[in-house]
C-alpha cells in the first residue's frame, strides 16, 4: 500500500500543491474531483490531479476508505455560503460534531483543509500490520460501504 508521506518531505509538499491547484480550478463547478479544469469552473477538459499522479490518487483513496468513527466530513451551515468541518461519531443517533469554529466560504476550499488535516492525522503505518487489531476480523476494517 501507499504509505502516508512523512511530514516535511518534498513528496508531501508536491501532493499538497497538486491538490490545491485542483481545488482552485474546480471552484464554481456543481460537483468536485481532484482534477484540474482546463478553464476554471468548467469541466469540458479535466486533467492532472488523480489522473496524473498515482501517489496522490492512492493516498486519497486510503483517506476516503477510513471507517466512520472520527472521520472528517463537511457540514453546510448556510446554503451556498458557509461550510464547516465536522467529525463523524461512528455511533448511530449521535450526529457529527464540529472540530473547530472555522467557517469556510467555499465548498471546494474546505476539501483541501480536510486533506491537510488527514495528512497530519494519519500515521505512516496506517493500514499496515502495525495497525492490525481485533476489529479487522469483525468488519471494522476500512472498507464498509454502509
Amino acid at each position: 500500500m501507499e504509505a502516508i508521506p512523512k511530514k516535511g518531505t518534498p513528496e508531501r509538499q508536491r501532493l499538497i500543491d497538486e491538490h490545491k491547484a485542483c481545488i482552485d480550478s474546480m471552484k464554481g463547478v456543481a460537483g468536485f474531483s481532484v482534477l484540474k479544469c482546463g478553464e476554471p469552473g468548467d469541466t469540458t477538459v479535466v486533467t492532472g490531479g488523480v489522473h496524473a499522479d498515482p501517489v496522490l490518487k492512492r493516498i486519497l483513496l486510503r483517506m476516503r476508505g477510513e471507517s466512520p468513527k472520527g472521520k472528517l466530513v463537511v457540514i453546510c451551515t448556510k446554503i451556498e455560503k458557509e461550510w464547516r468541518i465536522g467529525r463523524l461519531s461512528g455511533i448511530r443517533g449521535v450526529p457529527p460534531e464540529f472540530i473547530d469554529d472555522k467557517i469556510y466560504d467555499d465548498e471546494q476550499e474546505i476539501q483541501h483543509a480536510i486533506f491537510l488535516i488527514r495528512l497530519d492525522e494519519l500515521p505512516e503505518t496506517y493500514g499496515f500490520p502495525e495497525d492490525f487489531n481485533e476489529g479487522w476480523k469483525r468488519k471494522d476494517d476500512n472498507w464498509p460501504v454502509t
Binding site: V29, G31, R64, P68, K71, I91, V94, V145
Partner: protein
C-alpha cells in the same frame, strides 16, 4: 447552525382537484408558523442557475397556525391488548432470538434493555429481556434474573424462563444454537423468588416493553395503540414465542417449541399435546400471514399481535435449511420477524391543517406547503395535484418518480457509511437535513441505509417527514440537486419554455395502469426513476406499444423491483414500498440468503434484469456505469444524421459539444450513465445519436452486473462501456422513445436561461412527441431485419466517426 424546528408531511403525495389533503406539522419551539401553498418551479440555489423559484397559490389554508411539538414513536414491535389470560400466577416464556445489537455503545441512541416477550411495566409483571449488558434477563416485578452471559450477536439462541408461584422456583435457560469449541457451557440459572406477580394493565409487548401509559404525552399520542409508550425496542429476529401459565419442565418446553398444532388429526385441543394444550396462553406462529402486519396466535385465545412500524417478515427462521428460498413455499421455515429500533411505517401525527384543492383553477403541477416562522425557520411539504383519469388537461405529462423518492427518503449514507467518500470521490457535504436525521433516527432511513443495528433497510413509508424531498437541498452524492430537487430542473425548463403539462406520480400509474397515461401524447420521466413497480413497467410498455411516446430524461431507471405493501392499502395508495437488494446490482447492503422475496407481495426482489425484465427494454438504454465527481458532455454520432432522427438536431451542429455546461457536475453527462445494448433489451433498430464515450473520470466505474470477474480497467479513463448514449427508437403504431441517459442531463436544461443546445435538443424531441397523431413513418428502407449481436460493419451508417473521417476537435 439551527436545528430543524419545523418538520412535516402530508397524507398524500398525489391529490386530485376537489379532494382534501391533510398536513401534519411538528413545530418544536416557535409559537406559530405561517403556511403558504406554493407552486414549485426551481429548487436549486446554485448561483450559476436561475435560483430558487416558486409562485404563490391562493388557498384558504394560507394563514398562521399555532405550533406544537409532534414526535415519532419509532421502532417496530408487536402488541396484544391486556387480557385476563395473561394475568398468570406461574408461567413459562420461551422463544428463539437472533439479536443484532445485544450490547450497544453507552451513547447509542437507544442504549438500554431490549424487550423480547414482555407483560411488564414499571416493575410489575413478567417478561424476557436482553439487558443493558447484552445478557438474557428475566424480569418478575422488580426482580432481575440474568445468566450474566453475553448473547452472541447475529446467532440463534433458544431462550426460556419458568416461574412456579407455589414453590418460588425460577429457571432461566439460554441455549445457543451454535456452540463453538471455546464457548463456555451455559447452565440454566436457578433461583427462588417467593412472590406473587403484580399485574399492570398494560399490553403484552413483543420486541418491546411498556414504559408508561401517558395519554397526554406527544410521544404517546403518536404510538399505536395511542396513549401507550413502548420502550426497549429490540434489534434482531424473534421466532416462535410462547407463553404458558405454568412452569414447564425442560422436556415440556422442548415439546412446546412445536407450538400449537392446529394441523393434527383427530383434533380435540390446540396441541401440541392434550396436557400442554391446557396451559397455553399464547403460541405465535410468525410464519403465518407473512404478507400482513398481524402476528398470528395459534393458541386457544387467538391473541393475534398487531405489528407496528412494519418490521421485516419473510425472514429466515432458526430452522431455515437452505433449500427453500421463497417463503411462500415453506412458511414454517420463515417463522422469524426481524425488528429494528428505527423502523417507522407512519408518524401517526395529528393533522394541523387540511386543504381542499379547488375543482378548477389549480393546475396539475409540483406544489408544496411552505412553512415559515418569523425566526427564520423554513420547511416545505411537497405534493402533486394530479388530474383524475379521463380529465387530463394537457398532451404532455411528467411522471414523478415517487417510488424512487421514497427509496432515497431520509438517506443517511454520508453519515453512516465509511465508504461513502470512495464512491463520491471527495469528502461528502452534509446539510441541515442530514444533521437533523443523524440525531433523529426515529424519522427512519432510506432503502440505501442500514438500520441502526446494521441490517439493510428494505421498507420505506411516505407517512413521515421526508427531509430529502425538499427544494434547496443538495445531495452529497452529487454536491448538487438529486432526485426531487433535480427533477425541478426539468420543471423549471418546462415552465420557462411555456409548455403546458400535467403531472402524475408512480403511485398513480401503479394503481391506474394504462388508463393513467393513455390519453397523453408523451410521458416525460424524472432524472432518476430507478425504483419501479411491476404494474408501472407494464403500463409504460403497453403505452409505447400502442403508439405512446416516452422521453426518458435520466439514467439508472427501471432497475429495482418495488412493491407497495398491501397491508397499508387502507391508509392510502402507495404508503409503504418494499425493495430487497439481492445478489447483483449496485447495493449499499445485501439481503441475507433466503431473504430475497418481498414480504408484502411475495414477489422476487432485486433487479428487474434478473427477473428477465431488462432495463434497456423500457426506453432503449440501461445503466452501465456510475461516478459522482464531475460530469462531461456528449458528441453526436453518425446515427444522429439518420433521417429517422435527424429532426431532433435541427439547429444543432454536427460537431457541437452537447452539454459541456450544467448545474449537476458541470455537464450533461454525469452521475449515472445509460448505454444502448441490444443484447440487454435495446431494440435492434435503436439509434445511438450521441455519446460521452471516453470523457469520464476514474471515479466512474462499470456496474457490477456487467462483469463477472474483478479486474482492472473498469473506470471511465479505460472502459468503453463507461459512457452515456443518447438514443432514439420507434415503437409500434407511431410511438417512440428518446433516452437522454444521464442523471445530470436535466441539470443542463436551465443553463443560460434555457438557451443552450441541450434545451434545443429536448425541445425538438418534445415538440415532435407531443404532436397529435402517430410519429411520421420512417423511410421505407428502414424496415429491415436486424440481429441483436449480428450487424454488417460495412454500410456507412454503421461506421464510426473516425472510419467516416469525421474527427472531433478538442
Amino acid at each position: 447552525m439551527t436545528s430543524m424546528r419545523l418538520t412535516g408531511y402530508a397524507d398524500k403525495f398525489s391529490v386530485h382537484p376537489g379532494d382534501p389533503i391533510k398536513f401534519y406539522v411538528n413545530c418544536n419551539g416557535p409559537a406559530e408558523y405561517k403556511v403558504e401553498i406554493v407552486h414549485l418551479i426551481n429548487g436549486d440555489t446554485n448561483p450559476r442557475g436561475p435560483g430558487y423559484l416558486d409562485k404563490p397559490v391562493a388557498a384558504d389554508v394560507n394563514k398562521t397556525y399555532k405550533g406544537r411539538k409532534q414526535i415519532i414513536h419509532g421502532g417496530s414491535y408487536g402488541y396484544v391488548p391486556d387480557a385476563k389470560a395473561f394475568h398468570v400466577e406461574s408461567f413459562t416464556l420461551q422463544c428463539w432470538i437472533w439479536p443484532t445489537a445485544p450490547k450497544t455503545h453507552p451513547r447509542y441512541w437507544k442504549h438500554g434493555a431490549q424487550g423480547l416477550v414482555t407483560k411488564w411495566s414499571k416493575d410489575c409483571g413478567y417478561g424476557l429481556f436482553v439487558n443493558e449488558d447484552g445478557c438474557l434477563e428475566l424480569r418478575i416485578n422488580e426482580h432481575r434474573i440474568t445468566t450474566g452471559v453475553p448473547l452472541r450477536d447475529h446467532a440463534w439462541h433458544f431462550c426460556a424462563a419458568t416461574f412456579d408461584a407455589a414453590t418460588g422456583d425460577v429457571v432461566l435457560y439460554h441455549e445457543p444454537q451454535v456452540v463453538y469449541a471455546l464457548d463456555p457451557v451455559i447452565e440454566p440459572v436457578r433461583q427462588i423468588l417467593k412472590l406473587a406477580i403484580s399485574h399492570a394493565p398494560v399490553p403484552v409487548g413483543i420486541a418491546c416493553y411498556v414504559e408508561s401509559l401517558a395519554p397526554d404525552d406527544a410521544l404517546a399520542a403518536s404510538s399505536k395503540p395511542a396513549g401507550v409508550v413502548f420502550a426497549g425496542k429490540y434489534n434482531g429476529k424473534i421466532d416462535s414465542p410462547r407463553i404458558c401459565k405454568v412452569a414447564l419442565s425442560r422436556q415440556d418446553i422442548e415439546t412446546m417449541k412445536l407450538g400449537a398444532q392446529p394441523g393434527l388429526t383427530e383434533r380435540r385441543n390446540s396441541g401440541p399435546s392434550g396436557r400442554l394444550s391446557e396451559v397455553i396462553v399464547a403460541a405465535w406462529n410468525f410464519g403465518k400471514g407473512i404478507d400482513t402486519i398481524v402476528a398470528s396466535d395459534e393458541g386457544p385465545y387467538r391473541f393475534d399481535a398487531q405489528l407496528v412500524n412494519c418490521p421485516n417478515r419473510a425472514m429466515t427462521g432458526y430452522n431455515w435449511g437452505g433449500t427453500n428460498f421463497d417463503w411462500k413455499h415453506a412458511p414454517h421455515e420463515y417463522g422469524a420477524i426481524s425488528f429494528h429500533d428505527d423502523d417507522v411505517d407512519d408518524a401517526r401525527w395529528s393533522a394541523d391543517f387540511e386543504w381542499s384543492v379547488p375543482e378548477t383553477g389549480v393546475k396539475s403541477r409540483f406544489y408544496a406547503a411552505k412553512l415559515t416562522t418569523s425566526e427564520g425557520d423554513e420547511e416545505f411539504i411537497p405534493f402533486w395535484v394530479v388530474p383524475r383519469v379521463g380529465q387530463e388537461t394537457a398532451k404532455i405529462a411528467v411522471m414523478v418518480p415517487t417510488i424512487s423518492y421514497m427509496a432515497y427518503a431520509n438517506e443517511h449514507v454520508a453519515c453512516n457509511a465509511g465508504g461513502a467518500e470512495l464512491f463520491v470521490y471527495r469528502v461528502p457535504i452534509m446539510q441541515q437535513q442530514n444533521m437533523y436525521l443523524a440525531e433523529h433516527r426515529e424519522y427512519g432511513g432510506s432503502i440505501y441505509d442500514t438500520h441502526t443495528d446494521g441490517t439493510g433497510i428494505s421498507i420505506s413509508s411516505r407517512l413521515r417527514p421526508i427531509l430529502s424531498i425538499r427544494p434547496k437541498y443538495d445531495h452529497f452524492l452529487a454536491q448538487a440537486p438529486w432526485q426531487y430537487p433535480a427533477d425541478l430542473h426539468l420543471i423549471c425548463w418546462l415552465e420557462t419554455m411555456g409548455y403546458d403539462y400535467d403531472v402524475f406520480t408512480d403511485e398513480d400509474i401503479t394503481y391506474d395502469g394504462l388508463a393513467r397515461i393513455e390519453n397523453y401524447n408523451v410521458i416525460i420521466t424524472g432524472s432518476h426513476p430507478e425504483h419501479n413497480s411491476g404494474p408501472q413497467l407494464d403500463a409504460l410498455h403497453n403505452y409505447t406499444q400502442r403508439g405512446g411516446r416516452l422521453m426518458y430524461m435520466g439514467a439508472d431507471a427501471w432497475y429495482w423491483v418495488h412493491s407497495y405493501h398491501p397491508a397499508y392499502e387502507s391508509t392510502g395508495r402507495g404508503v409503504v414500498t418494499e425493495m430487497r437488494r439481492c445478489e447483483s446490482g449496485i447495493r449499499t447492503w445485501r439481503a441475507d440468503p433466503g431473504e430475497y422475496y418481498h414480504q408484502g407481495t411475495g414477489e422476487l426482489g432485486g433487479m428487474w434484469r434478473f427477473r428477465g425484465r431488462y432495463l434497456h427494454s423500457v426506453a432503449g438504454t440501461g445503466m452501465s456505469s456510475e461516478g459522482f465527481d464531475v460530469s462531461s458532455y456528449f458528441s453526436r454520432t453518425p446515427d444522429s444524421l439518420d433521417p429517422r432522427v435527424a429532426w431532433a438536431f435541427d439547429g444543432i451542429g454536427y460537431d457541437e459539444k452537447l452539454g459541456n455546461f450544467g448545474l449537476v457536475g458541470g455537464g450533461a453527462a454525469g452521475l449515472e450513465l445509460d448505454i444502448v445494448d441490444t443484447m440487454l433489451g435495446s431494440p435492434p433498430h435503436t439509434l445511438a445519436v450521441a455519446t460521452s464515450a471516453g470523457r469520464h473520470t476514474e471515479a466512474y466505474l462499470l456496474v457490477m452486473e456487467d462483469f463477472g470477474f474483478n479486474q482492472q480497467g473498469l473506470d471511465g479513463t479505460t472502459h468503453p462501456r463507461v459512457r452515456a448514449d443518447i438514443a432514439f427508437h420507434e415503437t409500434p403504431n407511431g410511438g417512440g422513445c428518446f433516452a437522454f441517459s444521464s442523471i445530470a442531463f436535466c441539470g443542463s436544461l436551465p443553463w443560460n436561461n434555457c438557451d443552450n443546445n441541450i434545451s434545443k435538443l429536448v425541445k425538438n424531441v418534445l415538440d415532435r412527441f407531443a404532436a397529435d397523431g402517430p410519429l411520421p413513418a420512417p423511410p421505407a428502407d428502414a424496415i429491415k431485419h436486424r440481429g441483436r449481436a449480428d450487424y454488417d460493419p460495412t454500410p456507412p451508417e454503421h461506421r464510426s466517426r473516425k472510419a467516416r473521417g469525421e474527427f472531433l476537435s478538442g
